[in-house]
């Protein structure tokens, strides 16, 4: 039995022990589940993990397919197009957080001093690819923007409050960035990782945009339009001559029609002949988008192709639909006969069946404002539900580069029939359309297209109009190209004309008569 005294001592010791555990360091606690910047970028895995976030800067599927502008009419019109836009206090597009993440890598001492120069440059190239992409978008929205290649601190007033830099300066930096990326990125082909080839495709896109913008926006007095168009030509040529990509012409996809399959296919691997970079989705991993619900449901904007776009599709023999007398009052069945096969691969036309289905389906007028109900990108009905689509989406494809090439050369005035044979012909061959004849086009510019594009002039007027037609048709519902095209061509008036749908010779067409419980009688546009 312990003595009372001993017990007291033990008790006091216990109290003292608790006190002593409160050493000075008790309140020094550091994160247990995240890393600190000074120890980062010391392995290649760090670079790879860090740069993975950059991929999320690419647009999501819902942006990539849901074009509007004057190509696709929907139940509600963007405020920009309706002319009812109020200038907001803030705008999601005026965001610089992606740039901060990019510049953090580019300015990291650890990264700059990384022991393996090849590895380092590859990831710095990747970061500069995304910086070029970032500033290209900013310039598209805002023209002059402040350029930063540093991570701004909270007290860096000079940078925080500096004025916008001129567009020319920003675009020169964009060009320097994308050139660096082309030089340093891997040349191994990949449909999901940014490579040298992705950088070339981006360069082709950027330079065409900037070159035509400068050419047509004469009021802005920007220099060097030709330099940019030439840069576009050289980047496109490098990609075309590399032989890494070709127009996808296989007939092993879901519809056995290569143009339609390029988009309808679930996985990009099958169409990697042409696709340079895409964004993947997966049912298993729950990464899905809303494509097929958007195209089939009655509540998702009811997209329909606009009438003037439909009119722009050529006849299958290469002649112009709009040359047919009374083309504007043809009814649906008649107007879609013997057209460029891409029309029937883009919208529902008579005889349309779903992939995996046999029933012939008419356009659902409750799901499409104009009646020209899009089918591009569509796969089997199982993906029709709300956010149940899983097909991979295309961000860059070789077909666009070919169109960029032809357009840049045409705008420069250096184009030849050979150039067309190297580019547009390939796209036309795929769908069995006759080639574009440069001389014929220039000899007889299409008055219908000329009426759409009022700024086009010069010796190649007829050809440029045809290249624009080709671009519009080939790239419809991809990456919102149409909006950017209208902007760089300075053809904003296209957005002010009323959007039209299918023609119906109903006498009292002036008022809306949508019948809910019976079949439709007229089309709400």
């Amino acid at each position: 039995m312990m003595s009372m005294k001993n017990m007291k001592v033990i008790g006091m010791l216990a109290v003292a022990a608790i006190f002593s555990s409160c050493g000075k360091d008790f309140l020094e606690r550091y994160p247990t589940a995240s890393v600190s910047p000074p120890t980062f970028f010391t392995t290649e895995a760090d670079f790879k993990a860090y740069t993975n976030q950059f991929y999320t800067f690419f647009p999501g599927a819902d942006y990539l397919y849901s074009e509007s502008a004057d190509n696709v009419a929907k139940s509600s019109v963007d405020r920009e197009i309706a002319g009812s836009r109020l200038i907001p206090l803030t705008d999601g597009r005026w965001s610089f957080s992606n740039l901060r993440a990019i510049n953090f890598l580019l300015n990291s001492e650890n990264a700059k001093n990384y022991r393996d120069a090849a590895v380092r440059d590859k990831y710095l190239g990747l970061a500069r690819f995304f910086r070029a992409y970032f500033y290209f978008q900013k310039v598209q929205y805002y023209s002059d923007v402040p350029f930063y290649n540093v991570v701004i601190e909270t007290n860096d007033a000079a940078n925080l409050y500096k004025a916008r830099d001129p567009r020319t300066l920003v675009m020169d930096s964009v060009l320097a960035d994308i050139n660096f990326a082309i030089e340093k990125l891997d040349a191994a082909k990949s449909v999901e990782r940014v490579t040298k080839w992705t950088a070339l495709a981006l360069k082709s896109r950027i330079c065409l945009y900037e070159g035509t913008w400068r050419k047509y926006h004469t009021d802005m007095e920007l220099p060097d339009a030709d330099k940019w168009l030439n840069e576009c030509v050289s980047a496109s040529e490098q990609l075309m001559q590399s032989g890494v990509y070709k127009v996808y012409t296989k007939v092993d996809g879901p519809t056995k029609k290569p143009y339609q399959d390029l988009f309808a296919t679930l996985k990009l691997d099958g169409v990697s002949d042409e696709v340079i970079l895409g964004r993947r989705y997966s049912n298993e991993l729950g990464l899905k988008h809303n494509l097929q619900f958007y195209l089939t449901a009655r509540s998702q904007g009811k997209p329909g192709l606009e009438k003037r776009l439909i009119n722009s599709y050529l006849m299958a023999d290469g002649s112009r639909f709009t040359d047919i007398p009374g083309y504007d009052t043809l009814q649906f069945f008649a107007e879609v006969q013997n057209r460029d096969p891409r029309l029937a691969q883009t919208i529902r036309t008579p005889g349309y069946t779903r992939i995996g289905g046999t029933e012939q389906l008419a356009p659902d007028f409750f799901a499409s404002m104009t009646g020209y109900q899009p089918t591009k990108w569509m796969n089997v009905t199982a993906y029709d539900g709300n956010s149940q689509s899983v097909n991979d989406m295309v961000i860059f494809r070789f077909g666009e580069t070919l169109l960029n090439y032809a357009e840049a050369k045409a705008e420069l005035g250096t184009i030849t029939q050979t150039d067309i044979d190297l580019s547009i012909k390939l796209l036309r061959d795929r769908v069995g359309m006759p080639n574009l004849n440069m001389a014929a086009a220039n000899a007889n510019p299409d008055p219908y297209q000329a009426n759409l594009y009022t700024q086009v002039n010069g010796a190649n007027k007829g050809l440029i109009l045809e290249i624009r037609r080709e671009r519009r048709i080939e790239l419809v519902m991809e990456s919102n190209f149409r909006w950017d095209d209208i902007m760089r061509w300075k053809e904003g008036q296209l957005l002010t004309a009323p959007f039209m749908g299918m023609y119906f010779p109903v006498p009292a067409f002036t008022t809306w008569t949508v019948m809910v419980k019976t079949t439709w009688k007229s089309i709400p546009v």
């Binding site: 555990s21 994160p31 860090y50 909270t154 539900g385």
Partner: protein, 943 residues
């Protein structure tokens, strides 16, 4: 446990997020405590709950083992509890054994519950379909049903059950193929949910001891069925507490107190069970659609439009393969010794360990349906086969040492001093693992997975340390003063800003002890009068995560596929402020306690002001080119004020020779808050949705309407341009007509707008139209006993709280929000404007106008603002204790039987009877798992 306390004490505010079995309440004392710096939202932090002196969770406590609960609201009384007690302290003491005879007590309760709200929804297929299609008249309709289909629906409109000559499920050729076409009058609510949910509770206590050792063991068991009819969800919990204390020596007493808590919620359907299923069944489950086909397969789509019936929940439930279990396990062990080395000095040292873990699993399995007879297809929505297991493992170590010394001098001076030390270490950790393609339908183990796997972690550590004193002095119990102070340190702050000193003082004067008071006292009019006042400050450190001052690169998983998996990445480090420190909470409290008529009537009143300063908010707004959220700084201030009033009347008198005892009590309390300081931002104008000085917390801005246009002509010629709030109409070329809302042009510019982007300086045509702060909470309780019969009633109420129904408030907006909500109130049609119903509540029927921004009902406005004021009979119980002379023969000390009811009656100002005011308080859309009315009986026996 928390639901029992709801309303019982003034300004102890308890909100329960839903009626889900096992749902815990969130506690708050005296209203808004702080503001969320990032979004300006009000924060109502919880008080520190100390169970036997150790931080604990109220809802894991068994009500039967509680001896007493006391609530410390003002800074002075809470001071010594330090950092986490800045917004009040709740002290819970559990029962202990008493020396003497061993006592065994068993009590139970058997109950059934049913929702407090009406569930009489539209069940006529024709009515529902036609309402939805009409709401989409201009936009293309919903159902895809033809005129012929409508005739079929109409023919069955009055069939309560299926008439064999008019089947509800038909097979017809559509689009070239035979498919099911549905013409039913199904009551999806009854198909999905049960009317009554049984519940039972059992409790057993053993206690006893002698003059050296005493003990108490308490065990409790609860089981409740959830609301799902197909594959019922089941909740159960068990707790055991064992408490032993021994006076080893006259100077040493040791106590060990161990509590084990275990709960289990087993469910089917979507991850999370009842609440998740409950939310998802809310769409596209039209009464016309059959839940299952004649061959027993589930329905999933109608084939005539593209929507998933009831989000496919029924197809998922019917095979029962998608299921989960949420478990919670908590072990608390408190070990304490009290040393008395000399007379009047006690040194108490304790160490406690708390371990909380929640091993959960959820198995997602494919579900199947049939649209074409004989063809069974996997539902696109539920097509994955995946098992997810997750587990938190949280440990808390707390050590306290304090000494108290009390001494009385000259018989009139009473003094007491406490000095102490406290430290706390929290180590939460989490692991989640998931695997696809499990090789068994019934077994659920990650080892059985053959597909994709994902593993996630997460952990942190935080520590607190504090030293405190309390000195109290009173003179003849007449004049009382107390001074407290606490020196606190927290690991959440950088070294230089880590420590804070928080002093407080309080004083009391028992006026009734003064000689001049004797006349009042002697005639028994006023028996007690005490005046109190206190001032104090406390620090709050529970802000901004575990490491708000350290810049780190956090790992993440992107919604982007690379290399066949969701890309793992490290993000850029978020900028942090170099100097962060304690939020400071300063309270002022004055109070008076009075007793009248020999203390038969007692009342107490408190008035308080609580200033929270140094609130962390985003710093000065930087231009967006900064590229990150501005680091938070200690900048804003908030002032909360209110009062509490309590009264009790207690008396007894003989009736028929037996004593009739009764008691009536009531409480009334209030709290409201206002922003008193914010970061001064020159770069960005204050928004009405953001923070600005003078903002009343909870204020709701909105537009003002003065009713419907009376005629089409009036609508056409109304000079004010209101397209800003008529987006659906403008987009679909629907002209304004009689029965559309007319908006008031408050700023007189001829246009309804939000001014300069809803800035405070120019909010356009918006003004404050309500406030969502709950005001004037009150309760009454009455109990009486006579001749072994006891009865008690408890009413609780809320005086005012505004609620603008959220855009998914389906029971409120019906098709004005989504034109496919499943549960539309039966009598909804009477609220829809028409030429013959010009006094309707809602305007012309149009879908999405309550859902999407810039539309008439989505835009918050005065007309549809709801007042959640309510009064509810929370509890009514009646008991009878058998006469002791009878029970003693069976060696039973006491035997009582009772019946009781909870939430049996509710009166409310809320317009709809389909939403409970507490549901609306819990969720902006008011559609959480319903709260219950409960009827119970049971007995209580003591041996």
């Amino acid at each position: 446990m928390s639901s029992l306390l709801q309303g019982a004490m003034p300004n102890l505010n308890i909100r329960v997020a839903s009626g889900t079995p096992g749902q815990m309440g969130s506690l708050n004392i005296r209203g808004v405590t702080s503001i969320d710096g990032s979004n300006g939202g009000a924060v109502s932090s919880g008080p520190l709950v100390l169970i036997d002196g150790i931080p604990g969770t109220m809802d894991r406590l068994n009500p039967e083992e509680v001896e007493s609960i006391s609530i410390l609201k003002d800074a002075a009384s809470a001071a010594i509890y330090g950092a986490r007690g800045s917004f009040g302290v709740i002290l819970v003491t559990t029962k202990s054994g008493k020396s003497g005879k061993t006592v065994v007590r068993y009590n139970n309760s058997f109950a059934v519950s049913t929702p407090t709200v009406s569930t009489n929804f539209m069940t006529k297929g024709y009515d529902w379909m036609s309402l939805m299609d009409r709401s989409l008249y201009y936009i293309g309709g919903y159902s895809g049903y033809t005129e012929r289909d409508y005739e079929e629906l109409l023919a069955r409109r009055n069939d309560k059950t299926e008439d064999p000559s008019r089947p509800w499920v038909t097979v017809q050729n559509r689009n070239g193929r035979d498919q099911y076409v549905y013409y039913g009058n199904y009551d999806w609510w009854d198909i999905m949910f049960t009317k009554w949910q049984p519940m039972q509770t059992h409790n057993l206590t053993l206690s006893g001891g002698n003059d050296k050792v005493n003990f108490m063991i308490n065990g409790n068991l609860k089981a409740k069925d959830g609301i799902m009819r197909v594959q019922t969800d089941k909740y159960s919990s068990k707790t055991v507490r064992a408490k032993v204390s021994a006076q080893l020596y006259p100077w040493l007493k040791v106590t060990s107190n161990t509590n084990v808590y275990h709960s289990n919620y087993q469910y089917y359907g979507r991850e999370g069970g009842g609440t998740a299923n409950f939310t998802h069944i809310n769409v596209h489950a039209s009464p016309a659609y059959a839940p299952y086909n004649p061959d027993g397969t589930a329905s999933y789509i109608s084939g005539l439009n593209a929507y998933d019936i009831g989000d496919g929940i029924f197809a998922m439930l019917i095979n029962g393969n998608s299921k989960g279990v949420d478990r919670k396990l908590e072990l608390t062990s408190i070990n304490e010794m009290v040393i008395t080395p000399i007379k009047d000095l006690n040194i108490t040292a304790n160490y406690s360990y708390n371990m909380y873990t929640d091993p959960n699993f959820y198995r997602a399995a494919p579900a199947y349906y049939s649209l074409y007879p004989g063809v069974v297809t996997m539902t696109p929505k539920y097509s994955t086969d995946k098992l997810t297991e997750s587990q938190q493992f949280n440990q808390v170590h707390v050590a306290n040492v304090y000494a108290d010394y009390a001494k009385t001098f000259a018989k009139v001076h009473n003094a007491k001093l406490i000095l102490g030390y406290n430290q706390e270490l929290n180590r939460p950790k989490k692991i989640t693992a998931a695997r696809m393609n499990i090789s068994s339908e019934d077994l659920n183990d990650l080892n059985l997975g053959t597909g994709e796997q994902t593993v996630l972690g997460g952990s942190s550590e935080t520590a607190l340390m504090g030293m405190f004193y309390r000195f109290t002095y009173d003179y003849k119990s007449k004049y009382l003063v107390e001074a407290n102070g606490r020196f606190d340190g927290s690991s959440r702050f950088p070294k230089g800003d880590r420590w804070g000193f928080f002093p407080s003082v309080s004083a009391g004067w028992r006026v009734s002890e003064e000689n001049f008071f004797l006349p009042l006292k002697s005639n028994n009019l006023v028996s007690e009068l005490k005046l109190r006042g206190s001032y104090g400050s406390l620090g709050n450190q529970s802000i901004g995560g575990a490491y708000p001052y350290i810049s780190t690169m956090a790992p993440g998983t992107a919604s982007y596929l690379l290399d066949g998996e969701l890309a793992k990445y490290y993000g850029a480090p978020a900028p942090v402020s170099g100097s962060l420190t304690w939020e400071k909470v300063t309270s002022y409290n004055i109070g008076v306690d009075v007793g009248f008529l020999k203390n038969r009537l007692t009342a107490s009143f408190d008035r308080y002001i609580r200033n929270t300063s140094n609130i962390l908010t985003n710093g000065i707004v930087l231009p967006d080119v900064f590229g990150a959220t501005e680091p938070v700084v200690n900048a804003a201030s908030l002032r909360t004020e209110g009062f509490e009033l309590t009264f009790d009347w207690r008396d007894q008198f003989p009736v028929a020779g037996k004593t009739f005892r009764y008691h009536v009590g009531g409480v009334l309390s209030d709290a409201r808050s206002r922003i008193t300081k914010v970061v001064n931002n020159e770069n960005s104008p204050a928004l009405i949705t953001g923070l600005y000085v003078g903002k009343d917390i909870g204020e709701i801005w909105g537009y003002v309407t003065d009713g419907f246009f009376k005629t089409d002509a009036e609508a056409k010629t109304y000079p004010v341009d209101q397209t800003w709030l008529n987006k659906m109409r403008v987009d679909n070329n629907i002209p304004l007509r009689a029965g559309d809302l007319r908006w008031v042009d408050l700023d007189g510019d001829g246009k309804i707008t939000n001014g300069n982007g809803s800035s405070l300086a120019n909010p356009g045509d918006q003004r404050v139209v309500g406030n969502s702060t709950p005001r004037y909470q009150y309760s009454f309780n009455m109990d009486a006993s006579w001749n072994n019969i006891d009865i008690s009633a408890f009413f609780r109420g809320l005086g005012k709280m505004d609620w603008y129904p959220g855009n998914n408030a389906d029971r409120f907006w019906g098709p004005y929000s989504r034109p496919y909500f499943s549960f539309i109130p039966e009598d909804f049609e009477k609220d829809v404007y028409s030429a013959t119903n010009r006094n309707a509540y809602f305007p012309n029927l149009l879908a999405y106008v309550a859902l999407n921004a810039n539309n008439e009902l989505r835009a918050t406005n005065n007309r549809y603002m709801q007042n959640l004021a309510y009064l509810r009979l929370k509890n009514l119980s009646l008991g009878y204790t058998l006469p002791a002379r009878l029970t003693r023969m069976a060696k039973i000390q006491r035997f009582r039987v009772f019946v009781s009811g909870e939430n049996m009656w509710t009166w409310t100002k809320l317009r709809t009877k389909y939403i409970d005011p507490e549901q609306a308080m819990a969720n902006i859309d008011g559609r959480v798992y319903p709260f219950s009315k409960t009827y119970a009986f049971g007995f209580d026996v003591t041996f």
